[in-house]
Assembly symmetry: C2
DNA sequence: CCAGTGATGTCATTAAGTGACATCATTATA
DNA sequence: TATAATGATGTCACTTAATGACATCACTGG
């Protein structure tokens, strides 16, 4: 028998998103999250750098996944193609099972400026990481950064569609569609 | 004789940027800023929504300026042309006089993640405003948002150059150069 | 059996941010 | 002229985020 209940982080996450959805991010205190998770506020801050991070701390995993996918794309693939591979690979995180959670999370973030700030910097960090990976493939600047930023724009649009109310398609299908639209746009 | 010394906001701004540059953003308390400005912390929060805003509260003016310039571009001008007009107009804010302040401010923001977050959301807000103005000119989505985002990317790059160490050119010259590079890039 | 480890709890403290109320020179108005 | 309204500021009390220091205690390896 373990000394503590396992999955402290998961419990914090679950408690936090429930409370944020119920009464809003600002109205929720860290103490309340901790109480619902059966832990203390001090422990919350041992797992998350600050109150917002409870909604974002998986992002390093997603970034690693995408950067690896980009790096492993065929050497001959042009920049946007490699970025596309990364965007598709992100689908590992966005399957049907996690869609309800993703929806709740997205709604909470959209409703609060502080949380939108945090999301923006996470996306900027991701963009920088993709650009770095592109440069390691021999893509020069500013093409690397431009391709990365464009990719993140597509990602944002596709993700927003995926968590949208009346959307039935899967994330990968939507991403591929968005990429096709982008290519059509730039082919003008 | 006025009852209070005038320009409370300016004094707060000056005191804040000095202290941020001297000891760093996190090490500076609002009480210290207020003391240097000859006021109290409570008054600081009457002028700025939070500690970071002391570095950003001019942004509505810049946004209004740019949106107006975009709206007043020739009706026949394509999207990117209208955006370019807005970028150039922003130069009203970035003359040689304000360059020292802009440099200090930029260095402070780059050194702190919280401040970068705030900057990102301000730029995102600006981008959304430009996209809205483009739609009012009859530009459809997603072209409006794409043109706006591209414009903001150019703005960021040009601004970073302008505040750069060994840069001698003026902001407008740099922006025009960046726009020319962008056009060359997309002409491939 | 015991020392070390590691996740947690407890307590104290700093600083951001807000609400309530007081102050008082300027301005408008009777 | 006298007085009332205004508005920027100060003071005080309070909540909450965040952090450091130290204690606890089950588990683990020797």
């Amino acid at each position: 028998m373990a000394r503590w209940e396992p999955d402290a982080e998961s419990r914090f996450r679950a408690a936090a998103i429930e409370l944020f959805a119920e009464v809003g991010y600002e109205q929720t205190t860290v103490a309340a999250i901790a109480e619902r998770a059966g832990l203390t506020a001090r422990t919350f801050f041992r797992h998350f750098a600050d109150k917002r991070e409870v909604l974002f701390n998986g992002s390093e995993n997603l970034q690693r996944l995408m950067v690896d996918a980009l790096a492993q794309a065929p050497a001959a693939a042009p920049a946007l193609e490699a970025v596309a591979a990364a965007l598709v690979k992100a689908g590992d995180f966005f399957d049907r099972d996690r869609r309800h959670y993703a929806r709740q999370r997205h709604a909470v973030i959209e409703a609060n400026a502080e949380l939108r700030e945090r999301e923006l910097i996470k996306l900027a960090t991701l963009s920088a990481a993709l650009a770095r990976a592109l440069r390691q493939r021999g893509i020069a600047e500013p093409e690397a950064s431009l391709a990365a930023e464009t990719g993140i724009a597509v990602f944002r649009i596709a993700f927003a569609q995926w968590v949208g109310k009346s959307e039935r398609r899967g994330y990968v299908e939507i991403v591929n569609d968005s990429l096709a639209r982008l290519r059509a746009l730039t082919a003008d």
